[in-house]
């Protein structure tokens, strides 16, 4: 039940925010009858209705779905946090060093021990990806402070 109710609350909150953003859209002189905000407003209402239905159904079913194991899932969100840290580090450190750090951090996060093979793997892995993307595909990668 908690899982469905949380889903419903998430959906209703999103629908409200989206509706408010749609209502704030400027009206164009080129607009048709529906307008730029017409479909978004309809979608927001649909999402709200579906969310309420999911919540009501969850409440009627009672303690059926067992809720969400927050602590367990928090670990999964750590992977996205690693990606966000990489995103912040790339402009500063440059493409290859940031990738090496990401590789090392991710290995440790997935359970590897901090040992020379892991360090070597991070360096070699980053070098391979740099070779593929910066040299092979000719991508203009951020140089960072070392560039």
């Amino acid at each position: 039940m908690r899982r469905d109710l949380t889903c419903a609350a998430f959906g209703v909150a999103l629908a409200c925010a989206y509706y408010a953003a749609a209502a704030a859209l400027p009206r164009s002189l080129l607009a048709d009858d529906v307008g730029a905000d017409g479909v978004p407003k309809l979608l927001a209402m649909l999402l709200a209705l579906l969310s309420i239905a999911i919540g009501v159904r969850g409440a009627l079913r009672g303690a059926g779905d067992g809720g969400i194991a927050l602590r367990r899932h928090a670990r999964a969100f750590g992977v996205a946090a690693l990606g966000a840290a990489y995103l912040a580090a790339v402009p500063l450190l440059g493409f290859a060093p940031a990738l090496a750090l990401l590789l090392l951090a991710a290995m440790l996060y997935y359970g590897a021990a901090l040992r020379p093979p892991a360090l070597l793997y991070a360096l070699v892995g980053a070098a391979i990806l740099w070779l593929i993307f910066a040299q092979g595909l000719g991508l203009a990668v951020p140089a960072g402070i070392f560039g």
């Binding site: 899982r3 469905d4 889903c7 998430f10 989206y18 953003a21 749609a22 859209l25 400027p26 164009s28 080129l30 607009a31 048709d32 009858d33 529906v34 730029a36 479909v39 978004p40 979608l43 927001a44 649909l46 999402l47 579906l50 239905a53 999911i54 159904r57 367990r72 899932h73 999964a76 969100f77 992977v79 690693l82 990606g83 966000a84 990489y86 995103l87 402009p91 493409f95 990738l99 990401l102 590789l103 090392l104 991710a106 996060y109 997935y110 359970g111 590897a112 793997y121 991070a122 892995g125 980053a126 990806l129 593929i132 993307f133 595909l137 000719g138 991508l139 203009a140 990668v141 951020p142």
Partner: protein, 492 residues
Amino acid sequence: MSELAHAWHALSSGSVIGAAFAGVAWGIVGGALPGISPSIAMALLLPFTFGMDAVPAIVMLASVYIGAEYGGSIPAILIRTPGTNAAAATVIDGFEMHRQGRGGEALGISLVSGFVGGLFGLAVLVLATAPLARFALAFTPPAYFALGVLGMSVIAGLSGDSLLKGLFAAVLGFMIATIGTDPVSGVARFTFDSPDLLGGVRPIVVMVGLFAVTELMAQSIEPAWPKMQARAARLRLPGWSTWKRLFRPQAIGAVVGTFEGVTPGAGGTIAAFLSYNEARRWSAHPGEFGKGSVEGVAAPECANNTVTGAALVPLLGLGIPGSNSAAILLGGLLLHGLAPGPMLFEKSPEAVYGLFAGMLVANVAMLALGLVILTPCLWLVNRPKPYLMAFILALVMSGIFALQGSLFDVALVLGAGVLGYTLRCFGVPTLPLVLGVVLGFMVESNYRRSLVLSGGEHAIFWQEPIALTLLLLAAAIVGLSLWREWRRARPS
């Protein structure tokens, strides 16, 4: 004849053959990695196709799909862990055969049955897509609107155990599709003054986030998969006496795979289990099923490889991707400036027939590579999981950056991954969301174009016969799904 000329031209360039072999090789390895589905394997390869010509790029992606369906059966047979969802049915008899010391025979049956299914699916694709596309050429804006609605209703109705949550996901995807410049008035919608969002959120970015990043997040809380013994895996092709027994289950797998493949949302997993069940029902030795039956391996493997071809029928003919893998292929087509749907046959026949020829090569490549790739594949899959996952994460981050040289895309991918994982926690299926993102623009622009044509009259949608038929079909599917859900929820 011009179709054959296009196909021959694609094959004679050599790059298509190379792309097919490379795609199949990566597909087998990716499919053998538990957690890396065919769609994720395809998504990881996508950035590398960016600099390639369109035809080899699309062939490579389709070949990954073909290879991954066989690759998924390797861990299913050897360690009772399906590499892909569609290989789950193979576990039942494949692992039992392995326990009896017949793992090599099971792998051989999986390979040849996959080859038979792949060829059958390709034949269905070649024969069915062009007529479907010709029919779709008669579509007007109301019909396109109705087609988009039908596509979303089919997926929402068939995905997961909850119609409500399927529709919830489809609406969410549609909402993402509205980000960017309004198709009619040119007003910037939900861009928050960011120039990066003016062009909208590209479907491929959402797909990579939803499939790859979400899975990487999920894998961080999953235990490591067991190691596979390379010595126990010596692939053995079936002899004539076994072949005779395989004919019937393969035929069942091909028919079921075709039906499930062309039905958007059904996919390889349902096809594999359904064909396993039917093969047991029609078998002369039903008692062997579950105890190491060769038929129990052949039917699901043939079915899930038939799906690889059949699932592309609605994609190429109508522009509706019926599965995650087809959605990634759609992203690949769009990336190379090819819009799937009826006009694809008119504007870029060389891409369509080049793809058909490439898929033929890919099926042959699967048979050839399947015989030799097993040992290196097992070596790679047996590397420590943290090393593999870290490399895949780094590959996703750099690959998405490579698409446009934009860190904003990397942020979007992470956001899509977080959204995908959150939805997974809520038990919301993600395929309808992808469909919403892909079809949202088509639905909205054709809805509004229709109303402009009719002077604001909604009657245009039921005065146009094709649109009316498609909308009635969509309503029937939603109604049927609601009825099913009501029956399921009713206390027995």
